[in-house]
Symmetry: C2
Subunit: 111 residues, 2 copies
DNA sequence: ATATAATATGAATGGTTATTCATATGAACA
DNA sequence: TGTTCATATGAATAACCATTCATATTATAT
C-alpha cells in the first residue's frame, strides 16, 4: 500500500518556488551558454578583447556566423563593444560570465 | 592606420584554450539548464524527492512530457531515481546542480 | 498468476535556432 | 567626398528539440 500523497508533496513543493519571470530569465541566461560557438566566443574574450574577424579566424568559422552570435551575446548583456579605429573590439560585459564559465568547468572536471 | 594584427591576437588566444571535448561537455551541461521545464523540475527536486506524477501536477503538464525530460536529466547525471513501493522517486544526483542554479539566480537578481 | 497503477517509449508535429550566402550599412582615412 | 574595409543584416535552409498522443513495459499487491 502506498503512503505517497501527491497533493501533500505538490503543495509543499509550491512554497518558495521562484517566480515564472525569474525562471524564464534564468533559462534565457543559460541558453547563452548552451551553444558550442557562443561558449568558445566567451572563452576567447576571457583573455582579451577581439574583433569579429579575429574570432572567426580563431574558430574557423564565417564572419557572418560570429556576427550573428555576437548580436545575441550583446542582447543578453554578456558582451560589449567599442570601436578602435577600423575595428570594433568585443569584450565581456559581465563579471558573472567568468563565474558561470568556471562553474561549468568545475563541474566537468569532476567526472 | 590600423595597428591591429589578426594573426597576433588569434595565436595569443589559442593558448590555454579548453579542449574541444571539455567545451562540448560544458555546453551539454548548460543545455540541461536552458529549458524552462527542466529548470522547474530541478527547482522542484531541490526541496524533496518527487515522483513523475507529482512533478506533472506541480507544473501542470502531461506525465509523458515530464518523463521525457527526466530521462534527459538522468542521462546528464543531474537526477537519480529510486523505487519506493509503487512509485519511482526522483532526486538531484549532483551536488553541483544547486550550485549552478544559485549561480543563475545570483546573476538574474543583479539586474 | 493476474490485474492494475505508475512509468517509459516511439512516432509525429510544430516551433525554434544556428549557419550560409548574398548584400547592405557605416565609419575611417586618403 | 569618395572609396575601402569591417561589420551587420535578411532570407533561406537544415538540424534540432519539446511536447503530445497512443501504447508498451514493468513492478506491485491482491
Amino acid at each position: 500500500m502506498s503512503v505517497h500523497s501527491h497533493e501533500a508533496v505538490v503543495s509543499r513543493a509550491k512554497k518558495d518556488f521562484p517566480s515564472e519571470e525569474e525562471l524564464y530569465d534564468m533559462t534565457n541566461l543559460f541558453k547563452m551558454f548552451a551553444d558550442f560557438t557562443r561558449v568558445r566566443i566567451l572563452f576567447a574574450l576571457l583573455r582579451s578583447e577581439m574583433c569579429v574577424i579575429d574570432i572567426a579566424m580563431l574558430l574557423g568559422m564565417e564572419q557572418s556566423a560570429i556576427s550573428h552570435q555576437l548580436r545575441l551575446l550583446k542582447q543578453g548583456k554578456l558582451v560589449k563593444a567599442r570601436r578602435e579605429g577600423k575595428h570594433i573590439l568585443y569584450s565581456l560585459d559581465d563579471s558573472h560570465v567568468e563565474q558561470i564559465l568556471d562553474c561549468g568547468i568545475e563541474h566537468i572536471e569532476e567526472r
